[in-house]
Symmetry: C2
Subunit: 222 residues, 2 copies
DNA sequence: AGTATGCCGTAACGTACGGTACGGTACGCT
DNA sequence: AGCGTACCGTACCGTACGTTACGGCATACT
């Protein structure tokens, strides 16, 4: 599990087994993102050049593979926490915008869309908790990462609010708006880098207009 | 096709065939909302007491049935347009809150969640345009219904904004926040009547704080 | 009454796919 | 060299489900 890779147990392909595992999961992400046809165990095995037997030995069943994939993807996305020290209006604004940009990039990425689609579909079928995992690593993870910033900003007298959770949810709504649901439903929505940065900027302006303590930019919505 | 139903062609069950069609589609909605197991043609036929042959004759194939179901549900949701005449700050606020309540009720209803789930799953598989239909009857339909109100409010000097679409999207985000994605992913989120009304009220306050012309309630979040 | 039509119930077909079994091969260990 | 382990490739099995086919019955039409 958490053994530091010192002895490189080289397998047939000349690779360390945990790396191999990662390769397989990357294949799943690939296949999912292409999404031309439903993800099938045989397709994964073929593309990853591994046997189905190995797939089942490693991940148990299809759900296990999916779960591992979601966690694998989540482990790649983790970004560093924003330093809440020496906060002023400008760094707060910049941090909020950065959060917005990060989040918009995530939800508009092909992998995230694909992963959310299978998780949503799965949540319908009741079995397994893929949806919960996606939520925990997406919506809730970013919430937990943003809240310290919000609290610090309140302590610094830059923001005024009671409920951190509710305040975060407002920011979340201002940033995401209808983007995620439209993308999930297959709407052709071009989220360019420029568009994302613009959206994050506007959302931050609006957020500060609602919760900012100072009388900065009035933030009329474009 | 478009013949006005005058001659009531009574079938075996003593029902008019178009009503029978509606019954079948209601069964689909039922099954979908229960969602214990995936929707299957056999299950629909059994529950609706009709033959699979009839299902295929009427709807072509499974996708056709799903499409018809989405449109059937959409046809039931259509609410009347809000009268934009004699607008003042109070009626505007009330109308916005009403919109918010309506929308939150829709997206938190079991049927909507189930329908969106199949549409999202379908959007992944590429085939058919279920996602587009859901979008057209959900997100976009409510947008087209709200925009006249926004424009009227701007004409009446109650709101200040440039881009009606962008303004609507902000309202959409303030109202929906993370609710829809959480519900789609299976999060247990209790959306009681009281909660919905409270959320709509707050969202409206915040929206007016951002776009309102007058200096009404400052709308501090929560 | 006799025939046609529409629909129900059920059986049957084909296929896709999750899951398992098995032979063959490369590598590590002794 | 001989053995065990891990894994690839492929064949195989069982089942679920979309789709089609068919027999039977009730109503509509002449």
């Amino acid at each position: 599990m958490s053994s530091t890779a010192q002895t490189e147990t080289v397998t047939r392909t000349g690779r360390d087994p945990v790396a191999r595992r990662g390769e397989v999961l990357d294949v799943v992400l690939e296949l999912l993102a292409e999404g031309r046809d439903a993800l099938t165990m045989s397709a994964v095995a073929r593309r990853a050049s591994c046997s189905k037997e190995t797939l089942y030995k490693w991940f148990g069943d299809r759900d296990g593979l999916l779960t591992a994939t979601v966690q694998w993807q989540a482990s790649k996305v983790r970004a560093g926490a924003y330093d809440s020290a020496r906060l002023d209006g400008l760094t707060l604004r910049a941090s909020l915008e950065a959060f917005g940009v990060t989040w918009l990039k995530v939800i508009s990425s092909r992998t995230s869309i694909a992963l959310n689609r299978v998780a949503v579909a799965h949540a319908g079928s009741g079995k397994s908790n893929l949806g919960q995992i996606v939520l925990a690593n997406g919506r809730f993870a970013i919430g937990e990462r943003l809240k310290p910033l919000l609290d610090a900003a309140r302590d610094a007298g830059l923001l005024v609010f009671d409920d951190t959770e509710a305040t975060f949810r407002t920011f979340f709504g201002l940033v995401g708006r209808d983007v995620q649901i439209r993308l999930l439903l297959g709407d052709k929505l071009q989220m360019t880098q420029a568009q994302i940065m613009h959206d994050a900027k506007i959302a931050t302006q609006q957020f500060l207009a609602l919760y900012g303590a100072g009388k900065k930019t009035p933030a009329r919505g474009r």
